[in-house]
Amino acid sequence: MKNNSNKRINLLVDGAKMALIIAIACGLVSLIVFAVSEDPWNAIYNFFVGPFTTLRRAGNIVEAASPLMFTALGVIIIFGAGQFSMISEGSFFIGTAGAMIVAISCQLPSGIHPVAAILFAGILGMLVALIPALLKMKWDVSELVTSIMLNYVVQFFVIYLVTYYFRETESSSLCSVLFQDSATLSVIIDGTRIHAGVVLGVVVCVVMWIILYRTSFGTALRITGDNGLFAKYTGLKVTGIMVAAQGIAGFIAGIGGGAELLGMYTRFKWTSTPGYGWTGIVVALLARRNPLFVPLAAAFIAYMNVGADIMARNSDVGREMVDIIQGVMMLLIAADALLQGWRQRMIVKAAKAEEEVKA
């Protein structure tokens, strides 16, 4: 009974906190726009309403959410195991390269080709994510710094691969040759570019939720993340779980990279990492580290990004504003003390009420 009421209070406070943060984010958008724009109403309209004006734009939201779901899941699993590896970014990018290699150089039937490419992307993503994990396990090297450094290494390595082995020589800007037709993911809703990778993302979210909350491995992982020492003394193989978590996270971020490349592009065009790993952290926090909320959180962040793009095209406000908003949201969500007093008072009140009932 008591446990139940605490749960309800937590849910209420968490919900209120998220609503407050989203309200602050929207308020901040308006504030910045009014401070810098000549025609603020136009910019505001484009930002908030713009993404819904055409089917194509609404589709853009779903497309932009797709890579964020994968990287956010990676972040959730890594942070969930109590590790602070930022490797989602690198795993995602090496995943795009892996998918590119298979998409260009293998001859496979059309049903199998994208599957093979995305699997290869996932494996590469996993291998990259295991580097900081194993360094930490073996010699206690800080995974935080090595993973960030590794992201840079991966970025240059992928650009090297494209430049020296897959480059389209007829184009003046850096891009790869065209993928084979059999490799690209099909569009699932006409009039948009929403591709099969989006479905894959949602499926992976559900699968991850099941793994985290309905299997013994998931329980062990969460215990390890909540209290590593406790987990160790209960006999869990803590380091093994941490390494496995990072491997799985890398795999997911990797297939995210593969799906993004084959779903949205016909050649490799990036010249630096797109930053989905970092944005994935905001999404993961916004989803309260629950895989089931990830699609929703990813859609919200994607909505803001699409809105910012439309606003930048049609007004005098730059799209980079959205990064500022994302940073502020991250700060606010991470702030454990926010509304904590309110939560505390409600729990105390509920406990007192219960005692009175008993008496």
Binding site: W139, L144, V145, T146, F156, A334
Partner: protein, 311 residues
């Protein structure tokens, strides 16, 4: 062979000191924070913001003085936000730092566009840089003078800061309190130390040092702000700090180690290597450096354990 020749030249040694300066500043800041028990991942963002606002404030105020005010002021503002959210609002330091970095990369481009109409760099603004300094007697010594004299004023400030941070941490009551809070916050607070206040001060000191590092990039190393010009130096500084075990002299030595590879990547451009491998070198070297250091640490720890067992 040509590479070896150019490494041994005074030009390379001069450049080595030049590229080490920003890393050293940030690593010293990280050392102060680390000793007080805070891992400040926001160094990268603080450097970026102070690099931009140093240039902007200098151009607007019409003098180097205003640039310094803008650069250090902005670094202090960002550090205050970091400290407030981490210490008062109890947010995880890693997340706070990531948030600062995310916001900083957007904010700098956003403000740059507002100020200059461009998103790439601030070349259209007149920026005030720190002057180069010739050291009187040393500059006349043949080879040594070429290496040690003629650097940017901030480079000498950085070396001075190694001494100042050392004095602060090991010879003042405040330094003792910071180290106590970092060593064991409960023990420190049980004898009446205000943990939050002391850490707040440490983060602000770190902010000033890191801000100087950022300003060096846009007002010394180059004479304009370029988008994303920090390029991971804040993170490399964190690595340098932990490799130097968060001591000022350790930070100096490890900054020099990492900067060596930064400089080497400049020299290697003469070879026929793919440029991407050259660009990746400083980051790969940081991973390798940290790993070697940690292996050494774990071997030492093991040996100690064995010794204890035999006793």
């Amino acid at each position: 062979m040509r590479v070896l020749q150019s490494i041994c030249s005074p030009d390379f040694l001069f450049m080595w000191i030049r590229v080490a300066t920003p890393i050293l500043f940030a690593a010293l800041g990280a050392a102060v924070c680390n000793k007080a028990g805070v891992v400040n991942l926001g160094l990268e963002g603080i450097m970026l913001i102070s690099a931009l606002f140093g240039v902007l404030a200098g151009a607007m105020g019409g003098g180097l003085f205003w640039g310094i005010v803008g650069g250090i002021g902005s670094a202090l503002v960002v550090s205050t936000i970091f400290a407030y959210f981490h210490l008062v609002m109890k947010a995880n330091a890693t997340l706070c730092g990531t948030a600062i970095n995310t916001a900083a990369s957007g904010l700098t481009v956003f403000v740059l566009q507002l100020a200059t109409g461009e998103k790439g760099n601030s070349s259209s603004l007149h920026s005030f840089s720190f002057p180069k300094v010739e050291i009187p007697i040393i500059k006349d010594i043949p080879v040594l003078g070429d290496i040690l004299s003629g650097h940017n004023a901030l480079t000498y400030v950085a070396i001075l800061m190694v001494i100042l941070v050392y004095l602060l941490m090991y010879k003042t009551p405040l330094g003792l309190r910071m180290r106590a809070v970092g060593e064991n916050e409960h023990a420190a607070s049980s004898v009446g130390q205000n943990v939050i206040k002391i850490r707040f001060v440490a983060i602000l000191i770190c902010g000033v040092l890191t801000g100087l590092g950022g300003m060096y990039l846009s007002m010394g190393y180059m004479d304009m702000f370029v988008r994303d010009m920090v390029a991971g130096r804040g993170f490399i500084a964190l690595a340098a700090c932990s490799m130097g075990q968060a001591t000022p002299v350790g930070a100096l030595v490890s900054s020099l180690v990492f900067a060596f590879f930064d400089g080497l990547s400049n020299v290697l451009q003469v070879l026929q290597l793919p440029s991407q491998f050259v660009q990746m070198l400083p980051y790969a070297a940081t991973i390798a450096g940290l790993t070697i250091f940690s292996i050494q640490q774990s071997v030492r720890a093991k040996r100690k354990m064995n010794k204890l067992k035999t006793v």
